[in-house]
């Protein structure tokens, strides 16, 4: 049984069609991400769930209750805002206790205990008396989390919560958010434009373009089996090669002929199309190495060295655009030079055929 159920959500701003027919079910205890470029409607959808935006059409159901017309203060959802929205005139503890103000069933001592527990949970134990303006970005983020989680909402909504942090802090908070979500068991819905963030943290991801959900899948399935070229390009890097389909056989530029059944893709019609593969699914053969499988030939056109990895751009024979191959560096093995002859070992199973 799903905790949140969205049916036929349409949202117009004047003539602008921001959300187009969104149907979505999110389960209890799930870490769910809405992923997409800016302007795709992901934040609008989150605000619809929170109740800050009304819908033009459709229904929002949370815990089997119709919440479509219920204001945000009456919904079992809490939000962590992109700007964190920490009240600057209140201390850390007063910020966290803000939502408990209306809980008449708790006495002051019980509230203080809850606040202290929430601060401990986000690693800010003992910070209660501090002025909220004296905190760093990461600490403000934690206060925002504690302030929402202390109310034990059914759903925690996170609007690009990590976008204001630097890279190191961001990676640390990603791990911490996963830990927190497992600890409290609350449904988390994360809005992000960062595909890596979504892949790392989520159980399931909805990729959105132009107000619509383009693909809804688990992280691995999303990466391995993107349903469209646009999704594939948005999630990680994918090489695309022009191809022709005829009588159940694909002829891909630079790779040669492949039987359609060997590819991972649904049935397709004859005609011009594209095949795609991820940089790490093909292997460059170094001098002395051989492959049992299929090998394509070409030349190395660019080398980008990353320390643990090297990215090679390889121009396959009979192919205009180079493909990108990522290789883990092995101690003692020299990196290939630009202009070197390249042999690319690949397997049809790693290829996706796009319509």
């Amino acid at each position: 049984m799903s905790l949140i159920s969205l049916r036929g959500i349409e949202k117009y701003y004047g003539t602008y069609h921001a959300l187009r027919g969104i149907d979505l079910d999110i389960g209890a205890g799930e870490f769910f991400s809405l992923l997409g470029p800016s302007g795709c409607g992901k934040t609008t959808l989150l605000r619809v769930i929170a109740g800050f935006e009304g819908v033009s059409e459709g229904t929002v159901t949370i815990s089997d209750r119709d919440m479509t017309r219920v204001p945000p203060n009456k919904r079992p959802t809490n939000m962590v805002f992109q700007s964190y929205a920490i009240f600057p005139h209140l201390t850390v503890a007063q910020n966290v206790a803000f939502g408990l103000r209306r809980r008449s069933d708790l006495n002051r001592q019980a509230k203080d205990t809850l606040v202290e527990e929430a601060l401990d949970m986000v690693g800010l134990g003992g910070f209660g008396a501090r002025a909220s303006t004296a905190l760093s970005g990461g600490q403000r983020q934690r206060v925002a989390l504690a302030r929402a989680l202390v109310l034990r909402p059914k759903v925690l909504l996170l609007d690009e919560p990590l976008s204001a942090l630097d890279k190191k802090m961001r990676e640390q908070m990603q791990v911490e958010l996963i830990r927190l979500q497992r600890q409290v068991g609350i449904t988390f819905i994360l809005v992000t434009h960062d595909q890596e963030e979504a892949l790392v943290m989520s159980d399931r991801i909805a990729v959105m373009f132009d107000g619509k959900i383009a693909q809804l899948a688990e992280a691995e399935a999303l990466y391995r089996r993107p349903v469209s070229r646009r999704v594939a390009e948005f999630i990680g890097v994918m090489n695309f090669l022009p191809a022709t389909v005829a009588d159940g056989v694909v002829d891909a530029q630079g790779l040669g002929k492949i039987v359609v059944e060997d590819l991972q893709s649904e049935a397709t019609t004859d005609g011009e199309t594209m095949v795609g593969f991820r940089p790490e699914t093909a292997t460059l053969l170094f001098p002395g190495q051989d492959s049992e499988g299929r090998v394509a030939r070409g030349t190395v056109s660019e080398v980008v060295y990353y320390g643990d990895m090297t990215y090679y751009d390889v121009r396959l024979d009979g192919c205009e655009r180079p493909v990108r191959i990522s290789m883990r560096n092995v101690f003692g093995r020299p990196v290939l030079d630009i202009g070197a002859e390249a042999r690319l070992a690949w397997s049809p199973g790693a290829l996706t055929l796009f319509r």
């Binding site: 929170a50 800050f52 204001p71 945000p72 203060n73 959802t77 809490n78 939000m79 805002f81 992109q82 700007s83 929205a85 009240f87 600057p88 005139h89 803000f98 939502g99 103000r101 209306r102 303006t133 004296a134 302030r147 929402a148 109310l151």
Partner: protein, 265 residues
């Protein structure tokens, strides 16, 4: 050269004001050097002057009422301006702000015509307050606009998200955060209304305000030292109010965790 200019400029600006206390304590009735001797006579005269007291009371009443009404109106206008989109917003806000640059003599004359000719009301402190609200509101709007603009809209949404109603959100979050702006605009409106002359002169009936009373004293040369004493007290009060306003503004910035930019002092 520049240094000489600055010094000359400052002397031109402040020398007349520093003359006020000098002659306020001078025992001679003629405002001229050399000074005669030290006296507190003029300050004592201020204490016993009934007309002055009632003018001062009138002015304080008018200024206080004006400040409160202007700031309430300013709050609503500024919030609407910053938070909402509505038809003809630019035009509406422009019309609210125009009294800022309208010559006061125009405002005073037209209001006099409307009040006396159209409605046949008698002139009183109420008509003065109404006119002062008209010219003070734009100042309140300008100050409060800045306050609302620096207020993250997510703060109000966060309060609602945490279970508060719109009304309690305004009380718990919005009001405390724009309070420095409210206090600053109260002080400004109070000061503007307190020393406003043209409108007060046109629209007061039998109850005069302080500036109008001072103007009436000028016709009697013997009263000049008393004006000097009164002026001295007013200068002190102005400095006090300005210091208060600035202190309040800086405290507000520190409280919101921002860095200082601009201000009066």
């Amino acid at each position: 050269m520049l240094r000489t200019y600055v010094i000359a400029f400052l002397i031109f600006l402040y020398a007349p004001i520093t003359l006020l206390p000098v002659f306020a304590f001078n025992s001679g009735t003629v405002i001229a050097f050399p000074l005669d001797g030290f006296t507190l006579e003029w300050f004592a005269a201020l204490r016993t002057n009934r007309e002055l007291h009632s003018a001062l009371a009138n002015s304080l009443t008018v200024a206080g009422t004006t400040a409160v009404i202007s700031v309430l109106l300013g709050l609503m206008a500024a919030r609407a301006n910053v938070r909402y989109r509505f038809p003809a917003k630019a035009a509406a806000m422009g019309l609210v702000m125009i009294p800022l640059v309208l010559p006061e003599i125009i405002v005073a004359t037209s209001l006099l015509v409307v009040v006396v000719q159209f409605f046949g009301w008698s002139l009183s402190l109420v008509t003065v307050v109404a006119a002062h609200v008209l010219i003070c509101t734009p100042f309140a709007v300008a100050i409060l606009n800045a306050s609302f603009q620096s207020l993250d809209p997510a703060l109000e949404e966060a309060a609602i998200d945490l279970g508060e109603t719109r009304a309690s959100t305004f009380r718990l979050v919005t009001l405390p955060l724009v309070m420095p702006g409210i206090i600053a605009s109260l002080l400004i409106c109070f000061t503007i209304s307190l020393d406003e002359f043209i409108i007060a002169f046109f629209l007061t009936g039998s109850d005069t305000t302080l500036p109008v009373y001072i103007w009436s004293l000028l016709r009697f040369p013997k009263q000049l030292p008393i004006i000097m004493a009164l002026g001295t007290l007013l200068v002190l009060a102005s400095i006090l109010i300005l210091t208060l306003a600035e202190w309040n503004r800086r405290r507000g910035i520190a409280r919101a965790g921002g860095s200082d930019s601009g201000g009066f002092l």
